[in-house]
């Protein structure tokens, strides 16, 4: 069986399960099954798949841009920066259209990443673990300013929903912006080779003929928009962008032209699985996919950290 057939079967199977599982049964005929599918189950499934694709791709781009596999947007403060932007626009123009809010959040996310890149330049490269440590502290600072603003202006609840990704609120008419992720995914696939080159670092990438600054700018803009869309519509899920690319690259190496679809599929499958799991663990209540992924993702990350050999020189 060709790999893409296996992936298609996996995603198709998960989607079918996701369409069938939920608080109301679609098989007993009490409610119009087609109506439930159209208004709730299908949007929810699509939202989980798109979110997974977006987060996984954002992780790849960030990892290539800073040449460090231990990071992803939520480990360098990007969602927190987007939340600060959202808070600002919510306070300044409460009635702004959702597209406006999202654009402001995207700009803020981009600024946040720019500042992090400035910081990252001051950090020595000898130890790859330093970058995520600094990134987490940086994100923590951004988030504590966000908490402070939200606390003084009574917006704490917003902050909670932006930070904790979940799909129970997804309905027809409230998730369509996530399709932007699909467009960005296609764009990233078109420049996959150049993003692979980013991972060589500035000097080498330039000598291979890459316009480094421009490529990295496009990549990070894509990450910013993906992050903003996800934070606004369903809330952020940690670790997806870290795990999907790492698992794929351990298994298939670093040719992004070949691997980007696999990374995207893995991200989509894992987010959808987390959402399904959250629905069946304690029905009729739901556990947010973000919570499930935080626990599961942290465990895998711990394994990644401590399973790989510390230093080959000791052997």
């Amino acid at each position: 069986m060709r790999p893409w057939v296996a992936w298609a079967l996996l995603l198709g199977g998960l989607s079918a399960v996701s369409l069938c599982v939920g608080a109301t049964s679609i098989f007993t005929g009490e409610l119009d099954a087609g109506w439930i599918l159209a208004i709730s189950r299908f949007p929810r499934t699509a939202a989980a798949l798109l979110t997974g694709v977006g987060l996984a791709l954002a992780g790849v781009v960030v990892q290539q841009s800073v040449q460090n596999r231990m990071v992803e947007p939520s480990l360098i403060g990007t969602p927190e920066a987007a939340m600060l932007g959202l808070l600002a626009i919510t306070l300044l123009a409460p009635g702004a259209a959702i597209v406006t809010k999202m654009s402001v959040a995207a700009v803020a996310a981009l600024l946040g990443m720019g500042l992090f890149l400035l910081i990252a330049r001051a950090i020595p490269r000898h130890d790859p673990m330093l970058l995520p440590i600094i990134g987490l502290i940086y994100g923590g600072i951004l988030f504590s300013s966000a908490i402070w603003i939200a606390w003084t202006t009574d917006l704490m609840q917003y902050l909670g929903t932006w930070r904790l990704g979940e799909f129970s609120g997804v309905m027809q008419g409230r998730y369509e912006m996530l399709w932007i992720v699909a467009i960005i995914a296609l764009l990233l696939y078109a420049i996959a080779d150049r993003i692979t080159l980013l991972g060589f670092g500035e000097a080498q990438a330039r000598s291979l003929g890459l316009n480094y600054a421009q490529t990295r700018g496009i990549g990070l803009a894509a990450v910013a928009v993906i992050t903003a869309v996800i934070v606004v519509t369903v809330g952020y899920l940690p670790f997806v962008g870290l795990l999907a690319p790492n698992i794929v690259s351990r298994w298939r190496g670093d040719n992004l032209r070949a691997n980007l679809p696999v990374v995207a599929a893995l991200g989509a499958a894992s987010v959808l699985s987390a959402d399904i799991l959250g629905r069946v663990l304690r029905p009729p209540y739901e556990i947010p996919a973000g919570t499930i992924f935080a626990v599961f993702g942290a465990c895998v990350f711990l394994w990644m950290l401590n399973a790989r050999p510390a230093r080959r020189a000791h052997g």
Binding site: A122, P124, I137, S144, S145, W148, V295, C299
Partner: protein, 322 residues
């Protein structure tokens, strides 16, 4: 060059800092004092003691931790201690229920939490440092990720609480100096004082350990043993402070950085007391400023965290070395 004349000079600076702390403490106690004096004084004295204990413990713990890690940007607070604290509180509320939780004897919860947190921290250090104390960055990152894991589990458990239990929990997991259990001050004071004394006894070894593992071992220091002892002290200090008032991440960074400015040499016999005193001054003076002069009781924690965060960025940009 801080040569032979440097040492007494720095000693005098630590004395001066202690004087500043005493002055701040007096001001805190006596500002606008009116009847009933005894009652107000005892209230203020309790709060003052908490501020001094937490400031001193956090400052000293951060200096210890930074020496061991060989990095002046990190604080023990970021290694998941706050998440562990919140997780323990959540579990207590979940298991005992809201009413049972509020009826627990405060000394019992305090000692239990401190013991559990110290134990967990030592276990983490032990498991991760067994292969050699040079792999500190991995340990730090593992601690942070464990913190994220615990936070996820707490989120998960909080979904199972009913709203009134949740509000009790929210109240105890916010860093606050207004709700300190005075019953715990004696126990916490004893623990923290012992740990700081232990750190001072370790000071000469720490001076050598600060040179890095190869050099320190070359000079005949049992480096790994010193690291484990210092980390045990850090665990006790941070756990006691966190269990007393709740999580504070960046206070230690402020205290340790200022201490290194005031005491320009890296003798731990001076650095440790300086950082402890500066930590205490920061909290006492800050609380005085916000509570008495600006009339904002709850703002100190947030402001210290925010300023500490800015300081962190300034250090990254200013020094350009880690």
């Amino acid at each position: 060059m801080p040569g032979r004349h440097g040492a007494p000079m720095a000693d005098r600076r630590v004395l001066m800092l202690t004087g500043v702390l005493l002055a701040a403490a007096l001001l805190f106690l006596t500002w606008h004092l009116r009847e009933p004096m005894g009652f107000i004084l005892s209230l203020r004295a309790g709060k003052l003691a908490a501020l001094i204990l937490v400031g001193a413990a956090t400052g000293a713990a951060t200096v210890l931790f930074q020496t061991i890690v060989g990095n002046r940007l990190l604080t023990p607070g970021i290694v998941g201690f706050d998440a562990l604290f919140i997780f323990l509180q959540t579990m207590l509320v979940l298991v005992l229920g809201g009413v049972g939780f509020t009826q627990l004897h405060p000394n019992l919860t305090f000692l239990g939490e401190t013991a559990l947190m110290t134990g967990a921290a030592l276990l983490l250090f032990h498991v991760l440092l067994r292969r050699g104390a040079e792999d500190i960055a991995r340990m730090v990152l593992t601690g942070i990720v464990l913190g994220l894991l615990l936070r996820g589990l707490s989120d998960f458990a909080q979904r199972l609480l009913d709203p009134s239990e949740f509000s009790i929990l929210q109240f105890v997991t916010f860093a606050s100096f207004n709700s300190v259990e005075t019953a715990n001050l004696g126990v916490a004071g004893g623990l923290i004082a012992l740990a700081i004394l232990g750190a001072l006894r370790l000071a000469p070894s720490l001076d050598v350990a600060a040179l890095g593992r190869p050099v320190a071992r070359g000079l005949g220091l049992g480096y790994d043993r010193v690291v484990m002892q210092a980390l045990a002290l850090v665990a006790v200090l941070v756990s006691a402070a966190t269990a007393l008032v709740g999580p504070m991440t960046f206070l230690g960074l402020i205290a340790a950085s200022l201490a290194r400015e005031v005491v320009p040499e890296s003798r731990h016999a001076l650095l440790l007391p300086a950082a402890a005193v500066i930590g205490a001054i920061t909290l006492v003076a800050g609380q005085f400023l916000f509570e008495r002069l600006l009339g904002q009781q709850g703002a100190l924690g947030v402001v210290v965290e925010f300023l500490g965060g800015l300081l962190f960025l300034a250090l990254v940009f200013g020094r350009r070395r880690l």
